[in-house]
């Protein structure tokens, strides 16, 4: 007890600086967790009395919406995460050179970060309109320069594949600059002399990319994959605006809360989302750590 009070009397000033912020953040987070767990095991009797039960989870397991949402969200994350990485890596490689105007190009590449997701989704909503939107006009070859791939315009909002595909495209577009910036800093930390040595030894550009750039970039790539995968699992805005009819975990929470009028089901779904995100991140984290240990050994 004496040691604790000694600690406080010695460090009270430091604590005064730190405690308010962390109390706010962690306290808020704990309250949220407590609320969401409590709500998820609550139901109301016909008289409106709350009681504790696992019925919400039972109902979820049996519902077709949850299984659909799990499939859709998994596909969204499994396709979207590598796409963000590929788009970010190609963009990073394109601006990681010295030529006139490269800083302007780099700024342009960061632009999607400066457009709110909601606005990007709205623009895609307009562009992929049916029957008369820019994309349909392009696809049916109605502009003089476009060859025309289809004879009939596509109603993108009608099917899960096309509407979630458009939503995915928006998400990848919007998240690319973050991936690019992380990868750019990774590229900058690779020494020039390695490439020069490789060139002297007769390695071409492709070979030095696969033998030098890619392995040394693996830490940055791991960070991109981990962080972007989490963002993909919890994505709400794009599917909500562009594909609300087709359930994803995040949009199903909204539907449960506002349409089914059940904060209890919505909370159970929220916990499912947290659990799925956590488990997939852990798998990805250990998978990537394993991969890195293999590459450094080789």
């Amino acid at each position: 007890m004496g040691r604790v009070s000694a600690f406080f009397s010695k460090n009270w000033q430091t604590l005064l600086f730190l405690v308010p912020a962390f109390l706010y953040l962690l306290g808020f987070l704990l309250i949220i967790l407590y609320q969401v767990i409590l709500l998820s095991v609550t139901r109301l009797t016909p008289a409106g009395q709350p009681f504790v039960t696992l019925d919400n989870y039972r109902a979820l397991v049996l519902s077709t919406e949850l299984s659909q949402a799990l499939v859709n969200t998994s596909l969204f994350a499994l396709v979207g995460t590598p796409l963000v990485l590929a788009f970010g890596l190609s963009s990073a490689l394109l601006v990681n050179r010295a030529y006139r105007g490269v800083s302007l190009v780099r700024t342009a590449f960061i632009l999607p970060l400066a457009i709110p997701s909601l606005v990007t989704a709205t623009v895609l909503f307009i562009m992929f309109d049916f029957p008369g939107g820019h994309i349909n006009d392009l696809l049916t070859g109605r502009y003089s320069f476009s060859p025309g791939f289809l004879t009939e315009p596509v109603n993108f909002r009608a099917s899960a594949l096309t509407s979630l595909g458009v939503a995915l495209g928006g998400k990848v577009w919007r998240d690319m600059p973050i991936a690019m910036l992380i990868l750019l800093s990774g590229l900058n930390s690779i020494g020039r002399d390695l490439y020069e040595a490789a060139a002297v030894l007769g390695a071409g550009r492709l070979r030095s990319f696969f033998k030098i750039t890619l392995p040394l970039l693996l830490p940055a790539i791991s960070i991109v994959l981990l962080l972007r995968a989490i963002e993909m699992w919890k994505e709400f805005i794009f599917p909500f605006i562009l594909a609300a009819r087709f359930p994803m975990l995040a949009t199903l929470i909204e539907r449960a809360y506002h349409e089914w009028n059940s904060p209890f089901m919505a909370s159970a779904l929220s916990l499912v989302l947290v659990a799925v995100t956590l488990v997939s991140s852990l798998i990805l984290y250990y998978g990537l750590a394993f991969l890195r240990s293999r590459v450094t050994r080789a």
Partner: protein, 277 residues
């Protein structure tokens, strides 16, 4: 070798051109639709033109005389300013302590910041909405600001830590030698020197709140006044004219576009430390 180098140049130039098109095209469409006249959108089966037939500011004029639109702007600004105030007042001292003092379990504290950041916001929206409902704070500016502060403060702390780190420690030590206390050093020495960097953190927190949709949507669902993003979503769900949608979108994006380019340098540090979305 020379011929090969030419191949690469062409491939890279084409790649740059292709990526630029992919990025700039939607941004162009956004602005184009915002000043399109009705005939360029509802074409009656004709092709949508790349440039509006009669460019017009009609939608902007309409918006800036519409009281619900102006109210939405006002509410967005109020919430964003309150978010900036709370997250700076709490976040700046914490960032200073993290940057300057020897703190046990500092890594754990930083990790907890990151975990707040990574917690899915949609998963937090329902419990927060229910909580505010219980506290009778639903539909309030303060309620949304408190939620936005939860999102903004980790960034503010990360950015401000970088700012305080960049100020030489000698200054603190000299002040200490001259007999200033810790609070005095913080308020009189560190804070004034950190002001430009903290301004960047403030701008960042402002923008985050300004275009935040998920919490605003859940917390203001039954409210008569709402923020600009919620306003945009509401008219989107009524499916009105696309030029109106685009004009609201431009008003929502312009501050973000302008200031993101300004605070880019500070944001990069935030992104690299993993704090940024």
């Amino acid at each position: 070798m020379a011929a090969k180098s030419w191949h690469w140049r062409i491939i890279l130039a084409l790649g740059t051109f292709f990526t630029l098109t992919l990025i700039l095209f939607p941004v162009y469409i956004l602005f184009k639709y915002s000043f399109s006249d009705r005939a360029s959108i509802v074409t009656g089966g004709e092709v949508i033109p790349w440039w509006p037939y009669n460019p017009t500011l009609e939608m902007y004029r309409f918006l800036f005389s519409a009281s619900d639109f102006l109210r939405a702007n006002l509410m967005s600004v109020e919430i964003a300013l309150l978010t900036v105030a709370i997250s700076l007042i709490l976040g700046a001292p914490a960032a200073y302590a993290l940057a300057r003092y020897r703190i046990p379990a500092k890594g754990l504290l930083l990790l907890s910041l990151l975990s707040v950041r990574l917690f899915p916001d949609v998963a937090a929206a329902v419990p927060v909405a229910e909580l505010l409902f219980k506290l009778n704070m639903q539909n309030s500016v303060l309620g949304v600001s408190l939620a936005h502060t939860l999102l903004a403060m980790p960034y503010v702390i990360f950015i401000a830590m970088g700012v305080f780190d960049s100020i030489p420690r000698d200054l603190d030590e000299q002040a200490l030698v001259l007999g200033a206390g810790r609070f005095r050093i913080f308020f009189r020495v560190a804070l004034p020197l950190a002001a430009p960097g903290l301004a960047a953190a403030a701008i960042y927190a402002f923008l985050l709140s300004w275009d935040e949709f998920i919490f605003a949507y859940f917390l203001l669902f039954f409210s008569d006044t709402f923020t600009l993003p919620v306003y945009l979503q509401k008219i989107l769900s009524w499916s009105p004219q696309q030029n109106l949608l685009a004009a609201v979108s431009v008003v929502l994006s312009l501050p973000v576009i302008l200031f993101t380019l300004v605070v880019q340098r500070y944001m990069r540090a935030g992104i690299l430390s993993g704090a940024l979305k």
